[in-house]
Symmetry: C2
Subunit: 553 residues, 2 copies
């Protein structure tokens, strides 16, 4: 971080002036005035107001303080999306402690590593994860206290020693807690990236970063005239977990704007669809896999999904899925970001004044990464950090500056410096950018297939294969080839009743070569087209190309 | 400003990480990517794009640098709302210099005082103000260079020595300027309050404050589902001058969102109405007087004013004016703030889910100060800093915390400490607050009339007098009275053809006493009801109660 000239004409505040550090607490202040009676529901089964949320935040802070949590402590949460999680989002950072959102889908080894690396002292754990905690308890070096969260009647008796049950601890605590101000660069939240290489890496966000992400993202989401927009009468339900990049920061935005919040617990398509209908949910964020599951689960009764605005991230929204969602009335669009970026740095909202020329045009735009959020400097650069031409064709890496990018990985100085080479955060995402600022991800740096001196985008080939009738899903990776350096290898999952051969797939792709849609180098040989039952995915639903590549190493 | 515990668990950025200070420059970055072709027009007579704005900002910075402007310099602007002003809003702070927006409606003495107090070194002055500058030039201690801004063909030859004509200086400069980063607490803008007591007081804003005001206000303005909202397809025209509290910070928000911007030059009702029609203006902020003038000027031809969203501030929006504007299709609502507050801290947007019960209810809400903007802690407190009950009746002073409040007056430590007594900014505005967080200004602290042990709101009495048929406008002040301490004194301007006596006014008010609408103490004696030709106003159109009171001192 650069040092500034000390002779800058800085403003000297009068001694009594309030300096207003940007703190998570401040996201709540306004909502308690203008939305005190607004509702928060957990699975439609329990409800309270924002005023109630505030009381529960105070009780949670007192309960945690009685267990020794202080400024600088780390409190880990292992829970599904719940009212408890939302309370932790505020109470823990508001105490000056760090909230560690544990990715419960990673392996016991990864969870153990992360809990130790983060030095988590207190663990709030849903009964569903008690078996896991029992399994790793002996290896957890820092955890002193476990709080058990039960959804039921309290009869679940954990076998690990625990400090108390969440609701009972809150009931026993007082609701007033003397939250104090502190430096806005204090750590507020921590989680571990589930990269496809190496140990999980800890990503930190400060209070300042969370607040600025909430403000900039709220302004962007609310700003379109119509379509793909958020407003104060929306009902918000996360469908990307609260343990995953702070649920894209959206719970903070929902509270900032005083929205009704629906917390769905464990994601089950039927439950999510029921909550959508009963609680009149209108705004969510989601990953493609879960969107597909919800479309499938509701296909038989044709449930009305109209009026549901949904940002898709995590992996690319395919045109096929986009069309299917639009056909069911979901106003679906893409968001772009990573664990390290806040996360939201771009959104594929419709550009002002530019009605799409056709459905295809509209779908194409919704499936792009989108245009950068205000305050985000998003560049697409070549290896010399020069901007590529915004012509929709020239490829480069997306690099970023924004007021809410992680400032490094916890205890990993080399990885941190690599992330921030040349003073820009390197996303490793390869993209093109159009003249009007839309960014389209072409590939991951490491997923580009270098064959015969040409670069082939694996994502592009996947998209074309996915469009072949009978194909449900596909993945393409580069595999070593003595003659060409690398060659594309495709894995294809067919629709249940589809009969498709490698030769047919190849014929489809060669027709696209004739139409100048892709390079001849991009078409896999028949022997390099494999039909499989399923595509391996990471814990957050991304295609796990590491696993696929290993089949050829 | 409080000091924080140095043991806070602060995030240590990796050395190469970009720390992202919040700078005015950052408001422009995104717009140049997504809105480069968006239009900015000056009076419909000259047009360029945002890309052109960016080039002109670079040229202006180079021109100013060649005149000796450096980090820490102060550049003063005396102009009507123009493309030049917008360029100054960016170029001057982006250089690390301070932009001083001179209130051209104040007296030559006040302008001289302010220019000297601010130590302005360079003065950009529209030819309309050259006579004034010629008059005071000899008294200006710091001004080294004058840049003349002409709207015409350049034939206006000023009689003061000057460095060059604005357009010619820009044409001679190169468009690339090496804008650097610096501390976000650097002074960006300065202006002088036109209070009704004492010398003008200099109010400063830092880069951080301007950016946070833009983000929080943008999020608020954009967030309603419909009505009283801003969106990316709006066309923005200021109708509160750019010299007045940075035109409420709206030019920064307009650029942040990439809106078409219409700069109307000197405010003349006919010109404003023509621009509204020709440029399809949809979003403005305005003061009541000018709104009234525009309604009057367009009454004869019934010009379509629908689709014009307009925030009213500066002084209270009266129900009568509100109804008149609504009848002409203007979506009018109130904003609340002061020179010292950023300025926007509250907006009278419609509450979510709460359709007004009646037209009267809707009008009443639109005329309130409104509900606080997110991140703003707005309290209504008694003399002991205790919150008054949010019952719509209990009165107290509005005190504030927000990330964009001025941190003190330039060189006025006592006034600064008084402003920030007890760590809250004291607005001196007396208000009530409703259960759902709407704030209604009742009076200024010094305008409350203390009579017979009771507090009477002069604004309340004015509102009731204004509703009497035949009354065009009124003002009420407290005057000394040996028996009662103070008594209300009314000044009334009648409609041209109205015949009204003091006795009739009093009879109207006494009927309201019977209806329990006001206290008997609030009704002026017949001798204290004066009919006048006009009400004295300050330079920003507020009733000048200081002048009125002086008639009785």
């Amino acid at each position: 971080m650069q040092q500034f000239d000390p002779s800058d004409p800085l403003i000297t505040p009068t001694p009594s002036a309030y300096g207003y550090p940007l703190l998570v607490r401040q996201l709540l202040v306004n909502a308690l005035v203008v939305s005190a009676e607004q509702e928060i529901t957990y699975r439609g089964e329990r409800r309270h107001t924002y005023a109630g949320l505030n009381q529960r935040i105070g009780r949670l802070a007192n309960a945690l303080a009685s267990l020794g949590v202080r400024r600088g402590s780390t409190v880990a949460i292992m829970d599904w999306d719940s009212h408890r999680y939302l309370e932790g989002y505020f109470a823990i950072p508001m105490m000056g402690a760090t909230m560690f959102t544990v990715n419960v889908r990673t392996s016991p080894q990864q969870i153990t590593y992360a809990l130790n690396d983060a030095n988590a002292q207190v663990l709030i754990v849903h009964t569903d994860f008690l078996p896991l905690v029992e399994q790793i308890r002996g290896e957890l070096r820092g955890v002193r206290e476990v709080i058990v969260a039960t959804d039921g009647d309290g009869h679940d008796v954990p076998s690990v020693p625990f400090a108390g049950e969440y609701e009972q601890l809150l009931a026993a605590a007082t609701e007033h807690f003397p939250f104090e101000d502190f430096d806005e660069n204090t750590r507020a939240a921590l989680f571990y990236t589930t990269g496809t290489t190496g140990d999980p890496k800890g990503v930190f966000y400060s209070h300042r970063q969370i607040v600025l992400h909430a403000l900039a993202t709220a302004a962007t989401l609310c700003s379109p005239r119509e379509g793909q927009r958020l407003h104060r009468e929306d009902v918000y339900m996360p469908v990307t977990p609260m343990f995953h990049v702070l649920a894209w920061g959206m719970p903070y935005i929902a509270v900032l704007l005083g929205l009704k919040i629906v917390l769905p617990g464990r994601y089950q398509p039927d439950t999510l669809l029921k909550l959508k209908a009963n609680e009149k949910v209108t705004f969510s964020h989601c990953v493609p896999t879960l969107l597909q599951m919800m479309l499938d689960a509701s296909a038989h009764d044709g449930q009305d999904l109209s009026g549901w605005k949904m940002i898709i991230g995590g992996s690319a929204l395919s045109p096929t899925l986009c069309q299917a969602a639009l056909a069911r009335g979901i106003d679906v669009f893409s968001g772009y970001g990573m664990s390290e970026t806040g996360p939201v740095v771009a959104l594929s909202q419709c550009a002002p004044g530019a009605a799409p020329a056709s459905i295809d045009d509209d779908v194409r735009r919704r499936c792009m990464a989108g245009r950068p959020v205000p305050m985000v400097e998003l560049r697409v650069v070549d290896a010399d950090m020069k901007d590529v031409a915004p012509d929709g064709r020239s490829q480069g890496e997306i690099v970023l500056r924004a007021p809410f990018l992680t400032q490094g990985y916890h205890g990993k100085p080399h990885a941190s410096e690599a992330l921030w080479a040349n003073g820009y955060l390197h996303t490793q995402d390869v993209a093109v950018v159009t003249r009007d600022g839309y960014v389209q991800i072409v590939d991951r740096m490491k997923d580009v297939i270098k064959t015969g001196g040409e670069w082939v985008s694996s994502i592009e080939v996947e998209g074309l294969i996915n469009a072949i009738p009978g194909v449900r899903e596909s993945a393409v990776v580069g595999v070593r080839d003595d003659k060409w350096g690398e060659r594309p290898q495709a894995f294809i999952v067919c629709e249940p009743d589809a009969l498709l051969s490698g030769g047919e797939v190849r014929a489809h792709l060669l027709a696209l070569v004739e139409a100048n849609r892709i390079s001849r180098y991009a078409v896999p040989e028949p022997a390099r087209i494999a039909f499989v039952e399923e595509i391996p995915k990471t814990s957050v639903g991304k295609i796990d190309k590491k696993v696929l590549r290993q089949r050829f190493d």
